[in-house]
Symmetry: C2
Subunit: 311 residues, 2 copies
């Protein structure tokens, strides 16, 4: 009996530009179809850091050269990135499925995700996006009302808020397609961030939602059996890079929270993955989250590798 | 008993840039929800001329400034435009539905449409896209392998092929959602043009598919009851702008073809709309296509206005 699985894809699943993405999605599709071939129903959530940065830079350059085009808000850039990434990914999945004799619809659902307009993240834009700038360019960007930050000695970048996802606007659509046995790509880039703004209106937010948190929320909302966070390491480690480094096969949510409180996991990298896994595992007894290498998805779901988080 | 209707939206439904689009979709949503409120199930196809042009220009500018980003193919630009337009349109539809107390899922389906790699259109790129250029800029564009043309005295533009749509890759997804009563935005910009390229691979084509032809194919493929082509005029005219101008209430496919052969309809404007209407009306007895003003959709489907095409 197959499981309903939500897969969160890390940055290594997509590459950083057009030719890299076209190559990377082939490999990614193999890992995902491995799970479908075993009878599971799969929804895929992907990140969009480099892609939304590229699109944001392109649209900003356009608006500088042609003032009839105002700056594109981050919500619009995320919508474009869902189209850009979804196209390559759904195409690669379709091909890999057909190559294995599997006939399944593959769909990319343009997804809006509601955030709280009062989320404290809006007071503290922390997620770097787009190209590196000189300090002078950053100052100009700041003058135009954008937050900027120095990014780990590599230069200045624009940064945006990263609020928590509250609900998935297109959930019914995603569920309908999964129920029909289709493969669904949804909540791309964490979803287009929107917040209620008078009556039934949803307004785009100048933000980017963490895709692992969005994947955990999607898994919860769909009552999925498992959340698999695919990344560039096979297992989660504590004391990472030290002499007493230890790979973990399993954590309870309480153990994971304790490690997180010790600062064991890098913010913006392993920390949101572990916290997303905890969130899903805690949401109902019997739910399991797994963090493992993209290429180990099949072995991971069979219990042979990766780090699982469950109560 | 409600009908299954495919709606093709003309350029006036979306505007030409970000703020225009945000305003235009409100009006467009009202016209579409008028039809849903009467119990019809609706799939919406929209154009993307100005939008894909804007995105193509932005991506071209980026690749000029940062050579790590190669030029984005037209297929990728169309995928981005489906995200950009679908986001605003689905949001406006959702709000208008809720404002009228209607609970329906609204989904944008990233759609690939197969074309024939041997379509003669590829030998004769005829569809102008993107910003106007000087003759010198056009020459430079041509040197980089793109087709360019002088556009009606307004300057030079890049132009791409406009092949005929053959089949809709994500048809099952669209049908599943319509069967579930959802409102579906699909084949945006005529669909992402792809063609079979060895095994099960689909390759993006440097082309833009006419959205009216794509809408006719979608209507046919879904066995829709009606195709409604919404545009900037209430009815189709013959002898347009002359002393003997005549508005048409109805044409048979044969009459429409005869008018088209006389050169009554402007290529790139009314001609593809009339030919798409003919194509759908001819595809099975009882099928009706309607061409009318965006704001007259409801009256049109009630038989009170517009130009209908049926056998």
């Amino acid at each position: 009996m197959g499981k309903r699985i939500v897969i969160a894809l890390g940055g290594n699943a997509l590459g950083r530009n057009l030719p890299e993405q076209m190559a990377a999605v082939k490999n990614t599709a193999k890992a995902i179809v491995d799970l479908i071939e075993e009878g599971n129903t799969v929804a895929v959530v992907h990140g969009n850091g480099p892609q939304v940065g590229m699109i944001n830079t392109a649209m900003t350059t356009l608006s500088r050269e042609d003032p009839t085009h105002p700056m594109a808000p981050m919500s619009v850039c995320t919508a474009m990135s869902q189209g850009y990434i979804g196209y390559d990914l759904q195409n690669a999945l379709r091909e890999e499925l057909l190559d294995r004799g599997l006939r399944r619809g593959v769909a990319t659902i343009l997804t809006q995700v509601e955030v709280d307009a009062d989320d404290p993240a809006f007071q503290n834009p922390s997620k770097p996006i787009g190209a590196f700038m000189t300090e002078a360019e950053a100052e100009e960007m700041r003058r135009r009302g954008n937050a900027v930050m120095e990014d780990a000695g590599r230069g200045w970048r624009r940064c945006v808020a990263s609020p928590l996802p509250k609900s998935i606007v297109e959930l019914d659509t995603i569920r309908t397609l999964l129920d029909a046995g289709q493969v669904v790509i949804a909540c791309g880039g964490g979803g287009i961030p929107v917040y209620p703004s008078g009556g039934n209106h949803l307004k785009g937010a100048g933000a980017v939602i963490d895709k692992d948190f969005a994947a955990a929320l999607l898994a919860q909302s769909l009552s999925a059996d498992a959340l698999i966070i695919l990344t560039a390491v096979e297992k989660v480690a504590v004391n990472f890079g030290k002499s007493d480094q230890r790979w973990l096969d399993h954590m309870t949510p309480a153990e994971a929270r304790a490690f997180a409180a010790e600062g064991q996991f890098a913010p913006g990298s392993m920390l949101p993955k572990v916290l997303s896994a905890v969130k899903f595992a805690e949401s109902r007894p019997g739910r399991t989250a797994l963090i493992t290498l993209l290429e180990k998805a099949r072995a991971g779901i069979a219990g042979q590798t990766g780090t699982s988080v469950s109560a």
